[in-house]
């Protein structure tokens, strides 16, 4: 399976100017036209706010993370919810990603519609319409799909549904921590999950184990959690619980991927385990939100040192200063918490940044 790289196909798209708020365009440009339009922000060819992706930096990050993860012998399944941009999924798969991580059945439908053929859905699959939607995709034997389970009740729902359809659903048991989000907390819960899984063979196939360490915030707790994940994987493997070879072992958000890569890969599973890591924010990279992680990696990580480079901020948001009503206050015309830019830390940081750009725009226009 490992050598199967699924690359989505390109299809031309029209840019709906009214939906996107580009400004005033009499017709909807096609994706092929955009380069010819020669949009220039300083000439105000587009309405602001506008998010700009810097291609060179984005490609640097694309390559950097793929090389970093590969250096540990691990696979990369970038979390796609960060961008939900099929064109970027395509770049990631072409660069060597094992698959795309997604959060919901709906996101999976969207990715599939754009050609993605391997998805790790890092959530429990629940709900009739969601099960139907995934079921339809599973009829495609080229579609490789994994989702999470953490309770007997949920497994019974999945088992009942997919066994009736004679479909096989691959699942990963999620381990969680007390006070965290989803995931099995202790051995008693784990046994209930395993018992439920045994009821639904072969419809529900246990393919591996999953964690999300990002609910914890200090390295010792995270390392303890990773150790537990490794131990449980070893235990379940020794009991021949897994229906996949190699066994999948997956973890890592964008803040601790270095620690997860190191801990999982040093657990000497050899070929028996396929390690799949899921950072999602690396393509654009937020120098604010991930400052601590970046410092740690730069200072301590041997692979990063060898690569002698790091992730670069590749996304910039341009917005208008619409008023400077007090000498130390600029009001910028954009939302503070737009889902597209979840990493902006404060509007005041941005305002200061924008005032600088404002001056540059002024210079350009003179």
């Amino acid at each position: 399976m490992n050598d199967k790289v699924h690359v989505p196909t390109k299809a031309p798209i029209r840019i709906p100017t009214l939906n996107k708020g580009l400004g005033s365009y009499s017709r909807e440009p096609g994706s092929a036209d955009v380069a010819r339009l020669d949009w220039n922000l300083l000439r105000e060819d587009l309405s602001l706010p506008t998010a700009v992706l810097y291609e060179e930096r984005l490609l640097h990050n694309l390559d950097w993370m793929q090389r970093f993860i590969s250096a540990y012998g691990a696979k990369l399944a970038p979390h796609g919810k960060t961008t939900m941009a099929p064109r970027l999924f395509e770049l990631q798969l072409q660069a060597g990603a094992w698959g795309i991580t997604l959060a919901t059945a709906h996101q999976t439908q969207v990715a599939y519609a754009h050609g993605v053929r391997r998805v790790l859905m890092a959530n429990q699959l629940v709900g009739k319409q969601n099960m139907v939607a995934i079921g339809e995709l599973l009829h495609d034997s080229d579609f490789d799909f994994y989702c999470l389970v953490d309770s007997a009740e949920q497994i019974d729902q999945l088992g009942k549904f997919y066994s009736q359809l004679n479909l096989r659903l691959n699942v990963l048991v999620e381990l969680g921590v007390k006070g965290g989000r989803t995931g099995v907390r202790d051995d008693a819960q784990l046994q209930l999950v395993l018992t439920a899984l045994s009821r639904w063979k072969p419809s529900i196939a246990l393919s591996g184990l999953e964690i999300y360490e990002g609910v914890l915030h200090d390295e010792p707790s995270i390392r303890a959690f990773l150790f537990r994940a490794v131990e449980v994987t070893r235990q379940l493997a020794s009991e021949s619980r897994f229906d996949r070879s190699p066994i999948l072992l997956s973890g890592a958000g964008s803040a601790w991927y270095d620690v997860v890569a190191e801990a999982f890969s040093s657990s000497v599973f050899g070929d028996a385990v396929e390690i799949v890591l899921r950072p999602g924010c690396y393509l654009t990279h937020d120098v604010g939100a991930y400052r601590e992680a970046q410092n740690r990696i730069r200072e301590n990580n041997p692979i990063a040192r060898q690569m002698n480079s790091e992730l670069l901020p590749a996304l910039q948001v341009w917005a208008y200063v619409q008023s400077i009503p007090e000498s130390e206050k600029a009001i910028v015309g954009m939302r503070r918490s737009t889902p597209v830019f979840p990493y902006l830390r404060s509007i005041s940081d941005l305002a200061m940044q924008d005032r600088k750009w404002h001056q540059r725009i002024g210079q350009y226009q003179k």
Copy 2:
């Protein structure tokens, strides 16, 4: 102008199932089909999360606010950014709204495309593409548009642009408070604004005065701000600064509309001033975010007492409980801060609510 009610026209629409994440539908239902589909949430006919608008409650709120504002002799220009739903704009206009308030040139384009013909843009208009977009709409003599100004620099940009096109742009001077958002802070700033306006007659027409009191959080400060707005309006009127008769005086978000209605309407301007209030959240009404306002209105407001009714919560979000990993913790499959539902106060409140519904769904399915 006051008797001119602009009602958008209805056009059939298709519901893009993949964009909306409805679940698994082989074809896109048209808006006319939806009622026939007889969707039932308890039967899980739709993928969750799903936002449900309760028609009867929404129509009650629609009528309630229109009657409340009218009782003060004021006009209602509901803030449309809250829903950005043209079908709801249509209901509001049919119920007697004076116009629709919007936040950006782009929102204005969208509303215009759906038939809205009177817009109060409660923001400074800045930026070339935004000026172009509004300029195109101004060629339609049936389109009545107002936006805010608060600095000479901004007015000069607008004046230069619209005078070249021989267009007339109606503006309201925004007053603001120290520490707040946009708006003229003091008399010195106001004089600069007035001087700039005098440079661009008749291209830039001063139609009135605007405030947003919601940046303040206690009634005495708000009343002082309202008093200042009334005084400045009186002063500018006595200097014959306004190019519109009646003069527009606009304020009020969804938390203080009762106080603004009362303060503005008791200022005895008579027919010389048209009071336009802009609450936006009343259609769906959030019982959490606006609890304090609702209590104040229920207890103190003579009009509300006379009406003997109040706003009702009309929006409910349904989501799946995907895991109950600890006995006191339910994990619900929805975002905490989706722009569509900005009023959910905490995921834990919701989780508790959902566990109750979860049980009801269970009962339904048995």
